[in-house]
Symmetry: C2
Subunit: 324 residues, 2 copies
Amino acid sequence: MPVESLLKPEDILRARERIRPMVLETPVMTSDVLDELTGASLFFKCEHLQRTGSFKLRGASHAVSLLADDCPGVATHSSGNHGAALASAASRRGFRAEVVVPEGAVADKVDNIRRHGGRVHFCEPTQAGREAALAQLVEAGLEPVPPYDDDRIIAGQGSAALELMEQVADLDCIVAPVGGGGLLAGTALAALTAGRPPEVIGVEPAGADDTARSLAAGRRVDDHHPDTIADGLRALVGERNLGLIRRHVATVLTVSEAQILTAMELIWARLKQTAEPSGAVALAGMLADPGRFSGRRVGVMISGGNLDVAARLAGLAGTPSRPA
Amino acid sequence: MPVESLLKPEDILRARERIRPMVLETPVMTSDVLDELTGASLFFKCEHLQRTGSFKLRGASHAVSLLADDCPGVATHSSGNHGAALASAASRRGFRAEVVVPEGAVADKVDNIRRHGGRVHFCEPTQAGREAALAQLVEAGLEPVPPYDDDRIIAGQGSAALELMEQVADLDCIVAPVGGGGLLAGTALAALTAGRPPEVIGVEPAGADDTARSLAAGRRVDDHHPDTIADGLRALVGERNLGLIRRHVATVLTVSEAQILTAMELIWARLKQTAEPSGAVALAGMLADPGRFSGRRVGVMISGGNLDVAARLAGLAGTPSRPA
């Protein structure tokens, strides 16, 4: 039997109050051009402007806030954003943070973990490699703080949607990306606290469509070979997360790599915000299924902004210089 | 004799009131990492989030607001940002806008002119080519609105610094890029309205150092062969602008292409904002001469965010996809 989450919508409200002093209330942005393009009214929740560069600080701060004062330190595995968030949340309480990172992770994300005080341990880039390395750290006495399959984490991530619903009245739906499922599951529970709950829609890369396949199969699939530029969404969906998504999420859309790149280009060009590929996946879902959103007031999660800036500059530096 | 500006600091205050309903009050951003890196307290004025993607809307709105109702339309030459700004300001009043654009201008900027309702006329990418094409449009009866060498424009551009000084108390200095010199000259006049005027410092690419050379020579140089990625700063400084800069700007620093790219990378990675190269030049000046800014409260103009997103994505799409 899969592990089930015990979370209720009220738990998201409580988590939100608990972490309020630890996270930023991120801004909401709009764009006439993007509204026109999609035929909807879009409200972008800018979690790439959250401290540490992603929504992950919310869940990590919540989990760390619940640890005892004599905790010897925390450990996790992460391709980047959860690692940096956990390191930041841990250092706030004076705990050490040890982060298992798969080889080949985005260099800027690894730097981000170290910048926030985390110690990095590289492992083989497989689920088994991650888990073995983490098990060693836990055996050494560190407290594991999983990246998504954890009620404390899910409750913290849901606070982003609560904030968004306070900032923007009468949303018809909220679109969020799904990798491990912490943000999407938390968003679904947060939506249920509203008098008229917005519909919650998940989006994942077609190259990492384990959640959509799991929903179709009625159980979590185990053949998962992610191949997508959206490095933050390559994880296998968590058991608790999948259960909440099955019960409370309207649908999970899949998007192509081209749609992700187009959405990212739109966010950069129109909002002037450097969303990372995973952070553009929610908008990509709107481009993939425009009819579903037409005429509606849509909250769109920009989940993170940590990407390999050097790679982007390589493209730009090739632009020829011309006289004016 | 060069043409002298007649502007006084109070003119900037008046222009600011006049255009208040036409422009956004852009946000100010900060970054602990960038403060630590520079040893200063930095306040980034986010004019890339201004409507049309740059501060140029301020001057264009001001100039257009002063035209008679029966104006047959406006014309200008621009590599992009002034053209889009003028088109937007003109359409607000129901005027047509014709924009001479040098061949080879950034494609996204040309699109931006058209998106705001401007009609584009390509010309040879030389100062002579620009002026000849503009002269034709003016002969046809259109009202010329120059991009920078114009008191109406300078007064409008200065409103960005006025806003910044209201948003952030007690700035010790303000750093702005200089191309034609509209923003820098306007900023210098705006600073003089303060009880304790911040020092104003200009920055230009070493590959387009006509302002620094003109200041050194005591007159505007005429040998100008710009070669820089900062396409918004390739114009020859205006006569009015140079006079104001000589009187009211503390110094004009020059920066290398590498410093511009580093500054742009820092703005993208740390602020998560897509500054265009010209928009990163003010921060590049701080990297070039850190001792000058150490320990001070510094306003930094991010002047624009219109760049060739496709070129940037070309760099990113090369990032290998890896399993999580």
